[in-house]
Symmetry: C2
Subunit: 398 residues, 2 copies
């Protein structure tokens, strides 16, 4: 044992994968605008409604009833049963509780998936533009990202090019990350698209990570309850994992509650991965999640209607501005629009924030394919959106 104390040494390096992580560009902007009185925050993926009372009441009651102890890691059996039924009602298939794992956020679920499947040196394909956080998580695990941009339609909207996806799969490709409905583009895969991607994953031995957190947010559709899901199209042991969340449908972004649908054989792996990360979501919050599934359907429909109205307003107002190119988003709750003459979307979002107090997310945050664009969340009241449009007009319609 040393008898004389050793002086402090220079800091030890972090893992390069972590030292090189870039902070989210949306978060940086969020911090810039935090506390500004006239801020209209349309940059993050959440609406302006608080969680419905029936959900809060259930969590409050569970807390008062003493549900403050450790609980089931993958979720209350009762909650998993309820989720099983929810999928049955929406998609006509019940995945069975053995395929369900509750996680502490959709992002947390993606972390667990990547820990299960992505080896250091593997790569993950991302259909871009896409919400960047899943890609950052892959980098944390030593993965590399291959961008496959969605193809552009003549009207500025997005479409899937399965051949490009196929061509991008290399020997180190381990997974495809696909969000449908997509944040930020609103692109929503058709059933034929989904079948083609599933076939590709089967044929090439690649995992499909299917982000369906915006599944309820579809518009102009003959099937209003949900976007097409991979669930009715797969066998339980197909290499497909669905990420879903309570956040968007039930205004529960702050609750950090989500769920995965995975092959039943992965249950033990998720048991362990959850145990060794958050050890499961708080029991009394799970009571809120159960109320969302059982008693939250009216709110879910109201939420989607509210977004449909927000979308119409934004399409009419923003879509008519001189410098804006905006296609109708089929799903999710964002307008992802191109601004004529803008090549640095982060600087432009900062300028808009500075001059108008409207918070928008820069397109570059969603990958190189998003540069020149801005993302606006329309999950807000008509009044708020109209005010934002008035302010934006000074810059975008000049």
């Amino acid at each position: 044992m040393p008898t004389e104390s050793i002086a402090p040494q220079p800091p030890l390096p972090l893992r390069p994968e972590v030292a090189e992580l870039e902070p989210s560009k949306i978060v940086a902007l969020w911090q810039q605008g935090f506390g500004r009185d006239d801020l209209i925050p349309l940059w993050v993926g959440e609406g302006d409604l608080t969680t419905p009372q029936v959900i809060c009441d259930a969590a409050t009651k569970a807390l008062a009833d003493g549900h403050t102890f450790y609980t089931h890691k993958r979720g209350w059996p009762e909650l998993l049963d309820a989720l099983d039924g929810y999928h049955g009602r929406l998609h006509g298939v019940r995945p069975e509780p053995a395929r369900l794992s509750l996680t502490s956020a959709g992002m947390n679920g993606i972390q667990l998936i990547l820990q299960a499947v992505l080896r250091s040196g593997d790569d993950m394909i991302a259909l871009t533009p896409v919400w960047p956080n899943a890609l950052a998580a892959a980098k944390i695990h030593g993965g590399a990202i291959r961008d496959v941009p969605l193809a552009r339609r003549a009207d500025g909207g997005f479409t899937l090019d399965v051949d490009a996806l196929d061509a991008a799969i290399g020997p180190a490709t381990r997974a495809i990350f696909m969000a449908s409905p997509s944040n930020p583009t609103g692109w929503t895969a058709s059933e034929a698209d989904l079948r083609a991607v599933i076939d590709l994953c089967r044929a090439r031995g690649v995992w499909l990570i299917a982000d369906e957190v915006y599944h309820r947010f579809v518009y102009d559709s003959a099937q209003p309850a949900s976007a097409p899901s991979v669930l009715p199209l797969i066998d339980p042991e197909d290499p497909v994992i669905v990420v879903n969340s309570f956040s968007k449908t039930w205004a529960m972004t702050g609750w950090r509650l989500a769920w995965l649908v995975h092959p039943p054989s992965m249950g033990p792996a998720f048991d362990s991965l959850i145990e060794f990360n958050t050890s499961g979501a708080p029991a009394f919050l799970q009571a809120g999640a159960l109320a969302a599934i059982r008693d939250g359907e009216d709110f879910a429909r109201e939420m989607v209607e509210r977004c449909a109205a927000g979308r119409e307003l934004v399409l009419q107002r923003l879509g008519a501005m001189r410098r804006v190119t905006l296609a109708r988003p089929e799903g999710a709750f964002y307008a992802f629009f191109k601004v004529d003459g803008v090549s640095d979307s982060l600087a432009y979002a900062q300028q808009i924030l500075e001059r108008t107090g409207v918070g928008l997310a820069p397109g570059i945050a969603f990958g190189a394919a998003g540069e020149g664009h801005l993302r606006l969340c329309f999950a807000s009241s008509q009044t708020r959106l109209a005010t934002a449009m008035d302010r934006l007009a000074s810059l975008l319609d000049d």
Copy 2:
């Protein structure tokens, strides 16, 4: 695009590090006993008290006030300030909020630390017997574990052998995981022990992960408020990260709230790592955490007194049983005792559960050095513990 559907293929393999994970032996036992009417669960690390009212009320109010949106990833500034003051009161040093990160459980915090520092192929030293979950997290990240057993004193208690620790550090050693007060042994490092370990980490360029979640649970001590902490002994940029938690001190095991004290230079890394995992703890739960720090001191003292009484009862009753060897644990809230003639502690814990309804954790769950032992959590009422002692006597005092 394929025109004919591809048939399902055999399941893809998981990462070997994850496929090989063993489920926690405590969890397996917990599942065995779940729902048994006469169960006395002394196997997991939580007491029998629900979270104090003042904490539940604060969370309930925050929920009612609409704190259901995204929030600061590393914790509310107000909460970090309160934690800063808490450390000042306990240890005489305020680490500053830039060194504090709120996490979604102590286990979640350990995951984030390992993601930041442990490269695949590195190894982590663990002072054993020790709570196994941190070691499992290291394995998930491709790390290997080097056991350094605590040395045994003549009375059966545990002590630190710094030379053994020094000798165990190899070229691939990246971190030492040290829990003090220790789960399961109750071993509590002296200030001299801590200085020696810190010096060793400085000299050898190794991270110290200092698990201080049982910091309030010390007995027979002239300094009753807290076990010795590394915090007053380090420079901010020393390679030392403290893990602490709301779980034990404030009966909040089910809330999944904890915090890290880390070098200020690691703040951006933890910003990102939290963003890309749970994206932060729920805002309204943070209100509960704030109440714990501000208004929870009476409960914390009551909790420690309750454990002190539980410890006395267990030492007297269990310690006197014919087949039991039990040293006085200096800290934490466990009796970690050897049973004469037992070489398979898991089978023996199952037998005890089967025959008496008392749930104990098998020593093997805490590493090879724990085999032949059982762990009993004494954070319970006198009545409950006395009943458990009566039942255990039939096996352990025969």
